[in-house]
């Protein structure tokens, strides 16, 4: 092991280093507060919307039915949100016609289902890097009482490494979350 040697000049440099980096990071992490604060959680739980993710892979139709039913029972507005996930190699506003078309078709199906219920439904198509983050973000900036979304059993490599959207929403959402997983197929007998 190299031999240790304590020198006053070294101590001064160490102190200067720690102080400068520490103070810069502290300053950075304490910006002035935003003009518009996020809604209070209590108020949101009483008066907020029901936010439902209607991505096709999540069993969108059942989720939307559940959201509309809940909205009718609780007399709460429903927001149906479709998130187009954009890879990091593209800016968020890059045109992706196939994805836009998929979002539009999903919205058409959602509208057909919502028409069966006496509930106000707002449709939002949003772009984000990950659906989970986009949904949490929406719930932080609009009063939301419940988030409803689906989860898949079959996770891709990225989901396994960094966690799925459902997992992210469960951890970070400021309100209650209902996650629906499709039922497993029963094993055939005999």
């Amino acid at each position: 092991m190299p031999e240790a040697q304590l020198h006053p000049f070294g101590i001064v440099l160490a102190v200067v280093f720690v102080t400068s980096v520490g103070s810069i990071l502290w300053w950075m992490l304490h910006p002035p507060k935003a003009e518009e604060e996020a809604p209070a959680v209590e108020a949101a739980l009483e008066a907020g919307q029901i936010l439902v993710g209607f991505h096709v892979a999540w069993g969108a139709e059942d989720l939307l039915r559940l959201a509309c039913e809940l909205g009718r029972q609780e007399n709460a507005p429903v927001t149906a949100m479709y998130v187009t996930e954009v890879p990091f190699t593209l800016p968020l506003d890059a045109p992706i016609p196939e994805e836009d078309e998929r979002a539009r078709k999903a919205e058409e199906r959602a509208r057909a289902i919502a028409a069966e219920y006496d509930t106000t439904v707002r449709y939002v198509i949003r772009r984000g890097r990950k659906a989970g983050r986009a949904i949490v973000d929406a719930s932080l900036h609009e009063p939301t009482r419940t988030i409803i979304l689906g989860a898949s059993e079959h996770l891709g490599m990225e989901d396994r490494l960094f966690g799925s959207s459902a997992e992210f929403v469960l951890r970070h959402a400021p309100c209650q979350v209902l996650v629906r997983r499709p039922a497993r197929a029963k094993p055939a007998r005999g």
Binding site: P2, A4, A14, C68, T89, D93, E98, I125
Partner: protein
Amino acid sequence: MSGNAEGTEITTGLRRVVSIWGSFTWGYADVGADVYVALGLVAMAAQGATPLAFAITGAVYMLIGLAYTELASTYPVAGGGQYYTLRGLGDIFGFTAGWALLLDFTIDVSLFALSTAGYINFFFPGLQHQPWLAIEGLVVVVFLASVNLRGIRESSWLNEVIGAVDMVSESTIILFGFLFAFNPSFFAHQFVTQFPSTHDFLYGASIAIISFVGLESISQAAEETLRPATVVPRTSLALIFTVVIYALSFSTLGLGVLPWQVIAQNQGDPIAVLAHHIPFIGFIAGPFTALLAATLVLASTNTGIMGYSRITWSMSKLGLLPQWFSALHSKFRTPYRTIIVFSSLAALQIVLASLSSNAYDTLGNMYAFGAVSGYVLVMISLIRLRFLDPDSPRAYKTPLNLKVTYRGDTVEVPVLGIVGLIGTVAIWVLVMWTHAIGRIAGPAWLVIGWAFYFYHRRRAGLPLLGTVARDWETEQREVLRSAGEHRLLRQYEAALARRQARQAAKVSQEEAGGDE
């Protein structure tokens, strides 16, 4: 029963995903990794004066960083340097800046892929030479290109964790190093007795710029950060100063602990070798730093791939490159042509560089040329945009401004911007003077780019040297609106209204004068 359906809201820019720490580490994963590569290269040239070389270049870098901070918080859009240059100087210069930065991003991928191999080989010293380094580097490029072809949607979280672990580790090495290993007499001895020749020192100073490359990441983070006008100046100023502090600390510590020759000889893993010589933590810090550095430079390599994908997309959107580049893969929705073309170029650069006597130095030469060429144009644009676009609200302005009257308007001329421009031009001259490879291959890259640009513009029926008319006011309104900067949007509208009123008054005054 019938549902009460409302209209659909379509939101394209979701900027609320990146936090303050995320915005900071986005840049840190790029710029923070540079010192892991640069220290050995600079020590080889600047010898006992290595910290001085870092200090001089660091001062210029801070001025460039201030310019980027102002521009990124004023125009928080994808595109970075080429976008600012296009707005400030027009299409041909915007293309030149973008093309130079494209060179930088491809070199970034080559150099950092090679460096990833270097730090991994800390554990396999027998492979710390060619052709193994090149082979490993190529594997890294192919792996990351494949991952990006499929599409990465989670990056911020990874950067945040790696950035935090890296900062803690680097700080621990520096702290323990200064406390228990730093020998001021040895440092002074090396500085005084082993000062390099003027040519070598200037070469070292010019190559030191590569430890500060990656300011484009500031603009990329700005596009996805909530309240960019408030957050971006803080995160980018913090990034600029911490990167300089780390670079100065490592170079000072390095020469107070080890002979510069040891650092220069270990260009593949200089920080790991330094960490290995720190008492108490050296036995674990050496291998840990090697592992951490490999991770950080790998993340930086990936930033390069994402960087050229985005900048190419932005350039083709603005008519500077053919739309061919922005085509998306039918299944993965990723810009596969860009990824394949520029990753192949990065792989080719690794192969060519590995044929030279020092692959790191060859790539470092090109890296410095691309970065400095882009920075020169950005610095000019900073100054010109103060005149061309005084109405866009600047949440952050580079300090020290001189008020002058220009065509009836009061314009603030950025004094530090001018000083920074002089410094950047000086480094560009040094690069051209001292870099044997950079002065030939760099301009050759630009000439190829211009030929391609003219060919594309001619085919597309766009002006060759002129600039396509664009509605910047509408675009700026949209940028501020989607960024959630409502207060700045109001300021912008008010400034535009004042300008219109002034112009109307001027016209009526002229008409009245004409009647008389």
